[in-house]
Amino acid sequence: MSARGRSMRNRLLSRAVQIAFLLGLILLWYLATTQWGVSQLLLPNPVAVYHELMNVLSSGEFVPDLKVTLSELAIAFGISSVSGIAFGYLISRSHYLIRVFEPLLAGIYSIPIILFLPLYVLFLGLGPSSKIALGATISFFPIVLNTIAGFGYVDAIFIIAARSMGASDYQMFRYVLVPAALPVILTGLRVGFTVALLSILGSETIASLAGLGHRIVQLAEGMESARMFAYITFAVAIAAILNTAVSTLENRARRR
């Protein structure tokens, strides 16, 4: 058999292993609930979960919670990306400022900021504003750090070349700095988006009045396990869709 045929067969085989693994998990789950008598409260039947999921989707019950979560995410990410890029650009204009601020910001970023959630709740209440503030704070750091890295470490030779060819400040910004910094900034934005989504879901789970995270907790406390599993599936799918969309956007913007 040719090498190409063998690699093709290997790929199919590994795909088959993946599918078998996932199917096996679901089968185990099914057997555990129907045959081995695992409590429906701890592990609801996958078929029941599927029905609940269809019910949630068709009744449109998820819409208000999804709206809350997504609007919190949009505002938080808006705040952190605008302030992160602006602040990062200003810092990156001077090597001295980079040396002052970069270790400071990196140091704060290494603390688990989720610790401050009780403070945010104390200041801003249980509503969306505490989630927005927390999400904006946490996602600010990867964005500002990557913006500094992007603008601050543009190869000096490009700048010298553009200057000696008589580029104006605007031309320098538009044709040298931005193209050089963009890939790094985009990575920062993607990481910031993921982190913002996680921290918003997290703070909704811990203390909130509405949103997907809140709904899951509510169902858990009401012992409606099947519906909770359905909502978890839904939330994971939403997160996966959003993250994929952002990665795709990043790749497309980078290629240009």
Partner: protein, 262 residues
């Protein structure tokens, strides 16, 4: 004239040592906080840093707090050790075999990418509200970065080294022990650093969500009784703990990652 000389020397000092300027910024921020908390903001919500610092002993002396910090530290330690064991085991199992790698890597990445916070209520349901649920949640956060970096470390070995070892007649175990293992060390320590970040996140999230004796219990109590002095004190203690733990693994990473750069 003298005044100007003085100004210039201060400027020169700051320019030569950015660390002083950094310290200055932190001090100015603390000063703003102090002023805001003393004169503008309701003391029910914010208390000045001077008072927080003074109350640290009060916080530690509050009945149950030392035990709670101890429990949280215990949860972090156990979760970290378990993450390293699972991460290393699963990472090696997947990374060493090409076919297993191709089959299971997408599944690992899929699981790594899911927002685990959504299944936090399940952990409470299965493991109760005591330390086991925090440990389990910390492990699921800390394990995946270690798995991924261990796999990357195993895969990134230069083929020439493997070929050389094999042509000199090394058997599988010898290749693992003398080629793969030493080459994996730097990325393994990088993974441990990421794993520590994950463990901190997971354990603290679970603690804040629901807790019967750990620090989450006390943050809830201090928040609900509008006692910002103690809340800030407790949070600073925990932040210091997180910084120390992060710094420990970072130092280890720098130390053990050094040989490759030479």
């Amino acid at each position: 004239m003298r005044q100007r000389n003085h100004d210039q020397s201060v400027r020169a000092l700051l320019l030569r040592h950015p660390a002083y300027a950094r310290l200055g910024i932190i001090l100015v921020l603390l000063l703003c906080w102090e002023i805001a908390a003393r004169w503008w903001i309701d003391p029910m919500f914010l208390s000045p840093p001077s008072r927080v610092l003074g109350s640290l002993t009060d916080v530690v002396e509050t009945a149950g707090v030392p035990a709670a910090i101890g429990i949280t530290f215990f949860e972090l330690a156990v979760a970290f050790v378990l993450s390293v064991i699972f991460g290393l085991g699963i990472g090696l199992a997947i990374g060493l075999q090409r076919f297993v790698h191709r089959s299971f890597m997408p599944i690992v990445l899929l699981l790594y990418g899911t927002p685990q916070i959504t299944i936090l209520p399940l952990f409470i349901l299965y493991f109760g509200i005591g330390p086991p649920s925090k440990i389990a949640f910390g492990v699921t956060h800390g394990m995946f970065p270690i798995i991924v970096t261990v796999i990357a470390g195993v895969q990134n070995i230069k083929p020439i080294l493997m070929t050389a070892a094999r042509s000199m007649g090394a058997n599988k175990w010898q290749i693992f022990r003398w080629v793969i293992l030493p080459h994996m060390v730097p990325s393994f320590f990088a993974g441990m650093r990421l794993g520590m970040t994950g463990v901190l996140l997971g354990v603290l999230l679970a603690e804040l969500y629901v807790s019967s004796a750990g620090i989450g219990y006390f943050t809830t109590i201090f928040t609900q009784s509008f006692d910002p002095t103690k809340l800030l004190g407790l949070i600073s203690i925990l932040a210091a703990m997180a910084i120390v733990l992060n710094e420990l693994v970072r130092r280890a990473e720098v130390h053990y990652g050094r040989w490759r750069a030479e």
